[in-house]
Amino acid sequence: MRSSFSWLPLALAHAVIVLVVALMLSAFLPGNVLVGRGDDEFLYPFINFPMFANSRRVDQVEATRVTFELTTRSGESIDTSFHWHERYGLQGIVFHRRFVRPLVRHPQPTLRDLATWVSRGRPEDPVVFARVTLQAVRLEDGELVEHEPRIHTARLKSVRS
């Protein structure tokens, strides 16, 4: 039996090589259906690798420093340092898309939404006070310039999860 199927590992290896290389190469094709990033469904780990592909002009070198202060009913101040949102089930892109970007145009309802979200995991001690400081930082004439911060506050009498 062993000799009859001795070709099998080699054939399998060839098939796997062709399959994996084909999946990787398909990432180069436009409109591919199996691989892609940001599609509704895709077969991780066979995904595209755009990796910060968009270019920027000099007038687009800007960012907004967003600083949160969240206080719970018991008076606890929630630690909102580096990547704090991941402790509340919010991964980076989702956090920015759902909360950080809307803060610029709709600060009050967005702060309330954020407080509600954070309170979901701690209903016994919900967030009752939320403040955000937005500060634009731009590159102007080769120097980083920090603009006047804007502060928005939301007080929440009760937050339901």
Partner: protein
């Protein structure tokens, strides 16, 4: 054929198994607490990946329970340890690859997808098909205790290493091509990197990134270096002498990303994957 299937002892494959699985278990394994947090805050998947969607539909739809998640995690951890020490190596590697794949897919089904685990998952999916247990494993030790003689060289122990070399080259090349086709040559104008570093410095509270931002010339040089590295890394496949150069460049590239941008430490798993390029088959350490 000789490039994919040369005869070898299998030591390089076995050492790669140990290095990559060991690094995964010690440095890059996902946190169970983080995975459970997703269950606590979400009622459903945001963008379920195929693997997760398939298993979810088998289990009646919806999110898995905390018990199921913990069980998969425990299975992945245990099979990882068995793969590392080489006990029932190939079945263990198969279980590890499937369970780790699922855990990563689960984590990335909540709206955010990242690349760091990609090479590791592909490697883990390959090794159950290979004689990865011929050396540096409990399986090999038990075989020797049973008095089975030394194994003849095999032609099946190099192709997964070669395939990972090709995969890494394709990933880097894809990254360079994406930048040049989407961003154009302007991607290297220096302002693109300035904007990227400014965003990283401000959102991650990282002063080092902000100190680099005003230096346009340095940002241009780093941008050009990135395109050259990603676009030309594939030449490592054709010229063996280029291996030290490109691997050193890769280490500098990934460490630079981590240090300058306070980037994801998970990308250092790609540096660990460089073990597939090293010539370890002549390893002469006496095995127990």
């Amino acid at each position: 054929m000789d490039w994919w299937f040369p005869h070898s002892s299998g030591r390089h494959l076995a050492l790669s198994r140990m290095v990559i699985v060991g690094a995964l278990l010690v440095f890059f394994f996902p946190s169970l607490t983080d995975l459970k947090t997703n269950l606590a805050y979400h009622d459903q998947f945001m963008e379920p990946q195929m693997v997760v969607a398939w298993t979810s539909s088998w289990l009646g739809g919806g999110l898995p329970t905390t018990t199921t998640l913990t069980a998969v995690y425990a299975v992945a951890l245990l099979s990882g340890i068995l793969t590392l020490v080489g006990f029932m190596t190939r079945p263990s590697a198969l279980v590890l690859s499937l369970s780790y794949w699922w855990l990563v897919a689960f984590r990335y089904s909540f709206g955010d997808v990242h690349h760091p685990p990609v090479p590791t998952i592909i490697f883990l999916l390959l090794i159950p098909l290979t004689p990865c247990n011929r050396h540096f494993s409990l399986d090999a030790w038990l075989r020797r205790r049973r008095g089975v003689g030394s194994l003849a060289p095999t032609s099946m122990a190099t192709w997964p290493l070669r395939l990972m070399q090709v995969v890494l080259a394709l990933i880097y090349f894809d990254s360079a091509m994406s930048k040049l086709t989407i961003g154009g040559l302007e991607w290297m104008n220096g302002h693109t990197l300035q904007a990227n570093l400014l965003h990283a410095g401000v959102t991650r509270d990282w002063p080092l990134a902000l100190t680099v931002v005003p230096h346009l010339g340095l940002c241009k040089a780093l941008s050009v270096g990135t395109i050259l590295f990603e676009g030309l890394f594939f030449t490592v496949l054709f010229h063996r002498r280029l291996v030290p150069f490109w691997l050193s460049a890769g280490v500098a590239f990934h460490l630079g990303l981590v240090v300058l941008r306070r980037g994801d430490l998970g990308f250092l798993a790609w540096v660990v994957m460089y073990v597939v390029f090293l010539r370890l088959d002549r390893w002469t350490v006496r095995e127990p």
